[in-house]
């Protein structure tokens, strides 16, 4: 109890650990896997990412050349980024805003 | 790799499990695997990190004697096997009657393999898909 009381006193004097979220945002580290993005110019539409994706979130068609990701299904594991032969896929560190 | 596996017939199950219990083994879990015409049921036991497995081949339609009277710990996993594989387990201490994991209207015996996919033994001796979920 004594330790708890002293801890409470310390906390009352300290700055709060939480932040007022929508107004004050946390800075994300560069390594954060936020969402999947593509540099579409480099893409050769080989479909390797589509084949490997564990959740079938990626849809690639050769004719016409389209590449699409279903962000709801994507688990941001980064497997597609690894297998991409052209290194055109990348994980951005910011999270997508809620629609 | 799985070592230390003893293949036993259904009739010897209780005796073997009893012997293992006397030796101080702990029940780790049961694994059921669909082989097409039969279910392959593995009993995993552990004592001081040494695993011991009992393998049982249970033809389709036969019921599996429960070991919950020896190891109460098996009660959840036996119910699970009954739900997911449609194997009737006889004499469980607590029987959820096929409603342990699955609810009304759920697929029957979902973990059984569909006919024609996977094991070729199925193609030779086709068995009606799904068992009865008690």
């Amino acid at each position: 109890m004594a330790t708890m009381l002293s801890n409470i006193m310390k906390n009352l004097g300290r700055k709060a650990a939480t932040r007022l979220y929508p107004f004050e945002k946390r800075e994300l580290p560069t390594t954060t896997r936020g969402h999947l993005d593509i540099e579409i110019d480099k893409c050769i539409f080989c479909g390797a990412c589509q084949k490997r994706c564990p959740t079938n979130a990626i849809n690639v068609t050769r004719d016409p050349k389209t590449w699409a990701v279903n962000h709801y299904a994507c688990i941001v594991c980064g497997y597609c980024v690894e297998v991409c032969p052209k290194d055109c896929l990348l994980l951005r560190n910011e999270h997508l805003p809620q629609p | 790799m799985l070592t230390n596996v003893t293949e036993i017939p259904v009739t010897q199950l209780h005796g073997e499990v009893w012997a293992l219990k006397q030796q101080g083994y702990r029940l780790v879990t049961l694994t059921c695997c669909d082989l097409g015409d039969a279910h392959d049921i593995l009993y995993h036991f552990d004592k001081d990190y040494t695993l011991k497995h009992l393998r049982l081949r249970l033809p389709r339609g036969e019921s599996l004697p429960s070991i919950t009277d020896l190891f109460f710990a098996a009660v959840l996993v036996e119910n699970e096997i009954q739900d997911l594989f449609g194997v009737t387990v006889a004499g469980m201490v607590v029987d959820y009657k096929g409603r342990f994991l699955l609810s009304e209207g759920a697929p029957v015996a979902p973990l059984n393999k569909p006919i024609g996919i996977g094991i070729d033994i199925r193609a030779k001796a086709p068995v009606a898909e799904g068992g009865k979920a008690s």
Binding site: N11, A16, T18 | -
Partner: protein, 285 residues
């Protein structure tokens, strides 16, 4: 409390009391948050919550439940009036207890087992703290020669001087009434407990708001009651009451919830002993 417009003042006080209670409970939440290292909600959050509850669609399980919610509030307001008017302390206690009893009956008249167990526990709590409140009234009588709750204002010495141990016992009762941590077994403000929300589980919307408002009155009553202990100088009384509330926050944050039997044992040994010692001292000094 004698002014040129006594009725006006009374009406004003009755109107202000729940807001004061809400503010106190908001400060409580803020302090609690700070004690835990959080920022916490705005101070008037309880007010927002209650207003929101009032605007919700009423859902009732049975009509009698609603009656008990109203009775709870009505008796609480009556208790507040009796206190402010300086009426008989025993009468005040009776009305105050009846208010809690209405809540218990409201919890009992539904079929939810959680609500019923909560009600049982609340009754047990009442059995645990009522003797102390009665002893407190006896203490006030011994100190001031009157059961009237107005008597501390005209007494020569502050009540705290005569009833120091009873004051401590009263603080424990206060912790129970404010649903603070070691004693929040019947219901609590955050629904994180074995009984979900216990006593008030089956109330929703405006009727829950009624109970909330009654609780704000309860807070105001308790605050006022602490002030009585130093009524000759209300400024000191106010500081005393604030300190007591701060102590409640500390206790809330430094304790886990204990079991019903522990609370009962504690009240009938520790707290009751404190109260009895004080009374005996008053008799034999």
């Amino acid at each position: 409390m004698i002014t040129s417009h006594p009725l006006m003042l009374l009406a004003l006080l009755t109107l202000i009391a729940p807001f004061w209670g809400a503010l106190l409970s908001g400060i409580d939440r803020k302090l609690t948050a700070r004690a835990q290292g959080r920022i916490g909600p705005p101070v008037i959050q309880p007010l927002y919550d209650t207003l929101k509850l009032l605007r919700k669609t009423p859902i009732v399980l049975n009509r009698i439940q609603v009656v008990y919610a109203y009775l709870h509030l009505a008796f609480m307001v009556l208790a507040f009036l009796l206190l402010v008017l300086g009426q008989d302390g025993l009468m005040f206690l009776f009305v105050f207890a009846f208010s809690t009893l209405s809540l218990v009956l409201g919890g009992m008249c539904v079929r939810s087992p959680y609500s019923r167990i909560g009600s049982q526990r609340e009754i047990l709590l009442m059995v645990a703290y009522e003797p102390i409140l009665i002893l407190l009234m006896i203490g006030i009588y011994k100190a001031n020669g009157s059961f009237l709750l107005g008597s501390p204002f005209v007494a020569a010495k502050p009540l705290l001087m005569a009833l120091p141990l009873l004051f401590l016992a009263f603080l424990v009762v206060m912790a129970i009434k404010l649903q603070k941590s070691p004693f929040d077994i019947a219901t609590s403000h955050h629904a994180h407990q074995e009984l979900v929300k216990g006593l008030t589980l089956e109330y929703a919307g405006p009727y829950l708001a009624l109970i909330e408002i009654a609780h704000f009155y309860e807070i105001a009553i308790l605050f006022y009651f602490v002030m009585l202990f130093w009524a000759s100088n209300l400024a000191i009384g106010f500081v005393l009451a604030c300190a007591s509330f701060f102590l409640m926050v500390l206790i809330d944050n430094a304790f886990a919830r204990l079991t019903t039997m522990w609370v009962f044992r504690f009240m009938w040994t520790g707290a009751l002993l404190l109260a009895l010692t004080n009374i005996l001292w008053l008799y034999f000094r």
